[in-house]
């Protein structure tokens, strides 16, 4: 089904349908991650791929128009050769790969045992993914938060932040269509029903990352999607009344700084950067609160980035 979807996307001229299919593609791949027991990844893929990014692309489409122009045919032979070679290389590599799920594959015998057996003692959270992500490899995760922040800054620069008036400051266009989505009663009722639980669920995912699948990345995206849903139904202006974009623009930085601050405090307490154990007298407590704090930092950054990007895209189409 994945392959069929991809072919359909490539062949379609109608961009709207292509975007819908891309959302479908993400949903499918999140199912695959689910089957592979990577629940956390499936979570993120469903929220980011199927949810947020589809909406972003739709918002972009609202600006540029929804059908692609016919282009002259270009030479396709060189790309074809390159793609074939890449595929052949990947197949070649599979010949010597350990079989799927072999217990004695190197992946399972080298660093993994310590993560599996001792993380409960050393770090604390029952969810091992969380302890690897936030503690053992917390530096990587710090980098990832940096990636999200960089993307935010990039979008802000390119879309011209600060040079346009936000929806709030702008005069309402005179010929505004009265027929907005607010009038569609089914949509409105469903949205009203959903938004509050989704927000609560986001908070649950945020604080429950220690115990079950979830954490800052997922929670941030879920939180943002609730806000985006609100903005879609009730219009961008009421949404910006709740979250003024000028203030919102500070939050990605604040989240990243919060993450770093945890690390720096640990440095002042005599540990290394991001060594949460040094935060408190009891290393376990230190790990626990350290992970909670950095997950909060990630959550703030991700949610604020998502909402910011959505606002600045939709402002352009106002």
């Amino acid at each position: 089904m994945l392959v069929a979807t991809v072919f359909a996307i490539v062949k379609l001229d109608h961009l709207m349908t292509a975007v819908m299919l891309m959302g479908f593609f993400s949903l499918l791949s999140s199912c695959i991650f689910m089957i592979l027991d990577a629940v956390d990844v499936a979570f993120t893929e469903a929220a980011v791929g199927a949810g947020a990014s589809t909406i972003f692309i739709l918002a972009a489409l609202a600006i540029v128009g929804r059908t692609s122009k016919k282009k002259r045919r270009e030479k396709t032979i060189v790309p074809l050769i390159i793609v074939t070679c890449t595929g052949a290389m990947l197949l070649y590599a599979t010949l010597d790969m350990p079989y799927f799920g072999t217990p004695d594959a190197p992946v399972h015998t080298h660093v993994a045992p310590r993560y599996l057996l001792e993380s409960g003692e050393e770090v604390g959270p029952p969810n091992i993914v969380t302890s690897v992500l936030a503690s053992y490899r917390g530096y990587d995760t710090f980098g990832e938060a940096g990636v999200v922040f960089t993307a935010f800054i990039g979008v802000m620069i390119l879309l011209g932040a600060g040079t346009r008036k936000s929806g709030l400051e702008r005069e309402a266009p005179p010929n505004v269509k009265v027929e907005s989505m607010r009038q569609k009663i089914v949509l409105r009722e469903v949205a009203d029903l959903l938004i509050a639980p989704v927000l609560v669920f986001a908070l649950y995912v945020q604080w429950h990352g220690d115990f079950g699948p979830g954490g800052g990345f997922q929670a941030g995206v879920i939180f943002a999607s609730a806000i985006i849903l609100y903005a879609l139904i009730y219009g961008i202006v009421p949404a910006q009344k709740i979250l003024p974009p000028r203030k919102l623009a500070y939050f990605p930085g604040i989240g990243l700084l919060l993450y770093a601050l945890v690390g720096v405090v640990a440095m002042f307490k005599g540990g290394n950067f991001l060594a949460y154990g040094a935060l408190m007298a009891d290393p376990h407590d230190g790990q626990h609160y350290g992970i909670l704090a950095i997950e909060l930092g990630i959550g703030i950054t991700v949610a604020a980035v998502m909402i910011n990007i959505f606002f600045s895209l939709s402002e352009r189409s106002l």
Binding site: P106, V107, G143, I153, I157, N272
Partner: protein, 498 residues
């Protein structure tokens, strides 16, 4: 109280990264561009000081390891600093800070204040991520910071005044993404074989898999992916446009650092992780790299000679110079590697200086075409003077930095008894004389166009960094302890590791 300095010294590797990485979000919060610029400049100069301190610690062949999060490798992520790391750190921070100092004037004409602070933020992020790539001892961590640096670079390029900057950035984005994906596949394959991501641990565990097809595929993906990022001929397609259309002084920073750090990653992985024997013996990297880099040097130099836009000319010259470094690496002897590492530093310095001098001229003329720059030697003598010194350095005239690296490269080729290669190198230097000479000829001996007849000398905040670059070029042409001396030790280390 006496404990605090020693503690600070221990924490230096983390401090090195955090200075710029934390200054970035702080900068983004100010709407006042001048204030952000001050923060950014202070942060980048502090990071230069930090790089010097680290270099001082490892000088002579030491190495520092720092455990991020307090977890020992391979479970946690390790930061490793040796002499090669330290010199690349110095390159990134010092040249980054110099360009940052000059950036404010350079941007003032094309951007509003609010945008400027976001631009400094991006610049700092780019610098921080390059530092992150350089210091890490973890294969996956390289990729994380590579993502930041790529995103930041695309943004920096796309903000050029010209709309063409957008296509240049988009093209780079596609190529860069393919490169990063290939590197990710390569690292994934290595993880599959060994179950570790730590570089030192990888290098111990890979040799038993030398006959494994997964490792072969991993190596192929890595080489192509990183060659895309280095812009190694014939995968240099994105570079000329990206350099030509990126705004003003930014080009100086990108030309100095982005490709050099990728090259550093290439050296690290090929020599330290995969191992020389595997890369050059079993996988025959040399037979691929030597002809391609020589072809790259000649083709790109020749293309440079026929350009009539100064920025594009220098961009093509960069492709050629990257060829020198690749060749130095592929020669696989002490002199060759010494030249690769030395030239990495020297070329970063000279190219950054050249682009910066050019940016100063463009600040006045608003155009980088050679026609607009003609006669500029009389109206802006100081800027053109710095440009001339740096240009002569790039050709490789004795008593400039360029001579040192070329000397080692030619001796490396002669050590291998590759006389034709040495001759081709000298021919390529003649081409360098042709394209640098062409620019200097236009600048000094052509009459200035009427509209630019009475332009003033460039602003001091740009002129002084230009001259620092120029004087450093002469200094490192005479005193080679820092560059070639260190590079020699690094080279014997890398070769000895096999």
């Amino acid at each position: 109280m006496s404990q605090i300095p020693s503690q600070l010294v221990e924490q230096l590797p983390a401090v090195q990264l955090l200075l710029t990485l934390l200054a970035a979000p702080i900068c983004s919060m100010f709407r006042n561009g001048d204030l952000s610029w001050r923060i950014a400049t202070v942060a980048s100069w502090a990071s230069v000081a930090c790089a010097f301190a680290l270099l001082h610690q490892v000088w002579g062949g030491g190495s520092i390891s720092y455990e991020m999060g307090g977890w020992p490798p391979p479970w946690g992520i390790e930061v490793v600093i040796d002499e090669l790391t330290a010199i690349v750190l110095l390159l990134v921070t010092l040249f980054g800070a110099l360009v940052m100092t000059a950036l404010r004037k350079s941007l003032s004409s094309i951007m509003r204040h609010q945008r400027q602070s976001l631009y400094y933020t991006t610049f700092l992020l780019c610098m921080a991520s390059l530092i992150g790539i350089t210091i890490t001892g973890d294969a996956f961590n390289v990729l994380v910071f590579l993502e930041i640096s790529s995103l930041a670079t695309y943004t920096l390029i796309a903000r050029g005044r010209d709309r063409r900057a957008l296509t240049a950035a988009f093209r780079y984005l596609i190529m860069g993404t393919i490169g990063a994906t290939f590197i990710l596949i390569a690292i994934g394959f290595m993880y599959m074989l060994t179950g570790t991501l730590n570089m030192a641990d990888l290098s111990e565990r890979l040799p038993e898999h030398y006959d494994n097809k997964v490792l072969h595929a991993s190596f192929a993906f890595f080489t192509i992916g990183i060659a895309l990022k280095v812009a190694m001929f014939p995968l240099h397609y994105w570079l000329p446009n990206a350099y030509t259309y990126s705004p003003k002084a930014t080009t100086a920073f990108l030309a100095a650092t982005a490709t050099k750090v990728s090259l550093y990653v290439m050296i690290r992985f090929i020599f330290d992780v995969y191992g020389v024997e595997f890369a050059f013996g079993q996988m025959q990297l040399g037979t691929l790299l030597v002809p391609l880099s020589i072809a790259g040097i000649l083709v790109a130099s020749l293309t440079a000679v026929f350009q009539d836009d100064a920025k594009r000319l220098l961009a093509w010259s960069s492709v050629a110079q990257l060829g020198y470094m690749a060749l130095g690496m592929a020669l696989l002897n002490a002199n060759g590697l010494t030249s690769a590492v030395t030239h990495m530093f020297n070329h970063a310095m000279m190219k950054a200086g050249l682009f910066l001098a050019l940016a100063t001229m463009i600040y006045r003329t608003q155009s980088s075409s050679l026609a607009a720059l003609s006669g500029i030697g009389r109206t802006m003598p100081w800027t053109t003077g710095a440009f001339a010194i740096l240009g002569i350095g790039l050709i490789g005239v004795p008593f400039t930095a360029g001579f040192v690296s070329k000397w080692y490269l030619v001796s490396g080729a002669l050590d291998k008894d590759w006389l034709p290669v040495a001759i081709l190198l000298i021919i390529s230097s003649l081409m360098a004389i042709a394209y640098i000479g062409k620019m200097l000829d236009v600048m000094y001996f052509k009459p200035a166009p009427a509209e630019f007849a009475d332009i003033k000398e460039g602003p001091k905040s740009m002129l002084i960094p230009c001259w620092i670059f120029a004087l450093l070029t002469i200094y490192f042409g005479i005193d080679t302890r820092l560059t070639a001396g260190l590079a020699g030790r690094v080279a014997s280390n890398l070769l000895g590791a096999s």
